[in-house]
Subunit: 243 residues, 2 copies
């Protein structure tokens, strides 16, 4: 059984304001919850309609009714299992190696996909501008499929960070170098822009290289690739050159 105040607290976590106040977030679905449990994250509680269906866990699972889960869940169709986790303290971004940075990426599905890509391609650090969607937003957590615990996240003022870092800064933009012909140093900051407006002027000014993914076909007029698919292609190119 889950108490009323607990239920209210969990429900509030779909809003960033309350996540920041309580320093907690929710994850939903058996797979995602189990993956986060198997990470360094601190779990505050697991709630399930059918606790018997879960493997043995290091903490007690609270049985809840479908109606209670519906009230806690941020999903239209709750996934049967919900976990509450502590938001870890933000660590300083890694000062060596490769960093992917996002300049105001707003769509939760895009950020979730990008976190999963960082995990896949072994990109240890994802750096987000303060206006990038919150990585503890339930829709982002859902889309990461458990990758969230394996990628180091930080929110920082990008121009300030870039100005004080010595690594080359590559941006993805129009009219740059052909991505396939670019040189890809091992240590690098790659910045991707907002879905509608691309990169901010302040970030553009700090770029040391501009990469473009070539378009193919005569008279091709496709305007742009989705930011998550463009990130997939660029991280793939980075790793092809730096396995």
């Amino acid at each position: 059984m889950v108490g009323k105040s607990q239920l209210k607290l969990i429900k509030s976590l779909r809003l960033k304001k309350y996540r920041e106040e309580k320093r907690m977030f929710i994850a939903e679905g058996r797979k995602g919850v189990l993956e986060l449990l198997d990470s360094d994250l601190v779990c505050e509680g697991i709630y399930a309609v059918d606790p018997e269906a879960l493997p043995p866990l290091p903490l007690e699972v609270v049985p809840v009714s479908n109606k209670e889960l519906q009230q806690m869940s941020a999903l239209k169709t709750p996934a049967g299992v919900l976990g509450v986790f502590r938001i870890p303290a933000q660590e300083e971004p890694l000062s060596s190696g490769v960093v992917l940075a996002l300049d105001d990426v707003r769509d939760p599905g895009n950020l979730g996909t990008i976190i999963r890509l960082c995990d896949w391609f072994g990109i240890p650090q994802l750096l987000c501008s303060p206006n990038t969607v919150d990585c503890y937003n339930p829709k982002v957590v859902q889309a990461t499929m458990g990758s969230l615990s394996r990628v180091r996240m930080a929110y920082k003022d990008l121009p300030e960070f870039l100005a004080h870092d010595e690594r080359p800064v590559y941006i993805a933009d129009m009219d740059g170098i052909n991505t396939y012909e670019a040189s890809w140093p091992e240590e690098l900051i790659l910045v991707m822009g907002n879905e509608a407006n691309g990169l901010s002027e302040a970030v553009r000014e700090l770029a040391t290289g501009v990469l473009s993914i070539p378009r193919f076909g005569e008279g091709n007029r496709t305007e742009s690739l989705n930011v998550a698919t463009a990130t997939a292609i660029l991280l793939s190119e980075f790793r092809r050159n730096n396995p």
Copy 2:
């Protein structure tokens, strides 16, 4: 003004059954509608809350109220402009060159993104298994951002098609050849699988090559990439080798 029966007809087009019966589909949003108007597709009608805001068009725009648009629209927040277009007759898939094939891709957002990728990378033919989501589904049309008219679409039984085609058949799957080390012939059929279940056994048996996108990082456990991001990476590799 839009008549009641017209309104009812347009509303019905969010269902595949009626799209197939009427051979029509809807597109929403200024940009998408204008791009489809500028293609070979036949337009049956344009409806807009503010017709004056549109550039001069070869057919009359029907002014509608917000309430009427709401009733026609398949979107939660209608985009102000809606076009009704005729579904073109399905042409036989191209028998030469490169083909991307989808084995039961179900998510409209994924199919839309993949159509956009085909357009970007100049892949002329997209071949879908009969259980792949309908490309005239309003959410797919929305996600293609106008690319739909520039990629040749066909729905066909995949195993039958593959069995009678002489081009090499590459599939994206686990435990295959490293994508970056594969040879990429100019003529090729590349098949991507379903979001949850991957490729069907029948398609697997007809493969002449299996490609895997390598994972990086020690002990990496990420299970799979989203089908649209995996497609992005593979089409990029195809074009890098066949510019």
